[in-house]
Symmetry: C2
Subunit: 210 residues, 2 copies
């Protein structure tokens, strides 16, 4: 039933405490992505991580501590400076670079983004509210997109309302990531880069024949 990551139960101390902690965090994210926050039990998380339940509590104190650790561990801020340096000036290439950065960050956050859509219980303590933290990185990238679009609109290359356009592009990538997460077996969109180029082509040129 439960497939644990490490099968070397026998050894008392096969890994460093940091590795143990990391295994628990990964297992917690995994189980929570299938069962939700309340549905994920500390026992199952410990089993999947291949550690004893007591070890989990020795590391994180309580379940909320584990949640807070997840928020800190997996919602780390991306380095966005290098993104700006990679922009060439070519419209398609730039949008591909920006879009790819957004897609990668959303892919890393996909599980927590999914939770943020369900678990918005105002009674949960704020340190544990992953739903609020997750969107910081995508929103930062969204700001980059917004600035870029505004510049291209000002220069006459694009037309339309910059906030609307930026949000639409972000939504397309968001839906792509969520679709692939929900339906991983769909043959469509196998190649992420090709999908992104397709999106940008439609976004820029439309699908109407000329």
């Amino acid at each position: 039933m439960i497939s644990n990551i490490h099968s070397d139960h026998s050894d008392r101390r096969s890994a460093s405490p940091e590795e143990t902690r990391e295994r628990i965090l990964l297992a917690a994210r995994d189980v929570m992505s299938r069962k939700g926050r309340r549905g994920a039990t500390t026992r199952e998380i410990a089993d999947v991580a291949g550690v004893n339940e007591a070890t989990l509590f020795r590391h994180f104190g309580n379940k909320d501590g584990l949640m807070a650790a997840i928020a800190q561990r997996f919602c780390a801020v991306f380095e966005l400076q290098s993104l700006m340096d990679r922009l060439s000036g070519n419209l398609e290439d730039d949008m591909f670079e920006i879009g790819k950065t957004l897609m990668q960050s959303m892919n890393a956050l996909r599980d927590m983004i999914a939770w943020s859509l369900v678990e918005n219980d105002p009674e949960t303590p704020f340190q544990v509210r992953i739903g609020d933290e997750v969107w910081r990185v995508p929103e930062a990238i969204h700001k980059v997109i917004l600035d870029y679009m505004a510049g291209r609109i000002a220069s006459g290359e694009l037309h339309g309302d910059a906030p609307l356009l930026a949000r639409l592009l972000m939504n397309i990538i968001f839906a792509h990531v969520m679709s692939r997460r929900k339906f991983p077996d769909a043959q469509i969109y196998d190649d992420a880069d090709a999908a992104l180029r397709f999106y940008i082509d439609v976004f820029l040129n439309g699908v109407r024949s000329k």
Copy 2:
């Protein structure tokens, strides 16, 4: 803390059993949309519905029965025949009609669509697996979009790969609905019809200046 729908607790039988059942179903969907399936307690659902907890169990037997009832009540199949009749032949108008139908059905299903992204626990009994049921209606509409696009591509009005285009349009609407659900206060996209027309305009014509 808890705001119940009906405040007329005093009467023993203020409503018909059907109304009571409906209140419980609505309350269950409401609470579950905030706390998830496991996080939603029968006590809170009963409180929000303004009924006694025992009444909830008398109606649905157990929590799984309530879940199954939700799946049946809120995932009802839309009538798609009238949609085909409303199509005029004009490309923009037709796509608006189809897109609007899809947007409305997704809006009705938004809470359950959100759950379906999180709770995919293979151990839950199949009758209760709302996550599988929810997508039937959108997929039916997706098929309409797919056929329509294929026809327009064959006639030369559109160009590209019909499955990809259909999926992209569906994704755009999916992301719109989820965005508005997650961030209801965002000033952007206030008017759903205007947003849809904007999406279709970008989809057909692109945003590049000509």
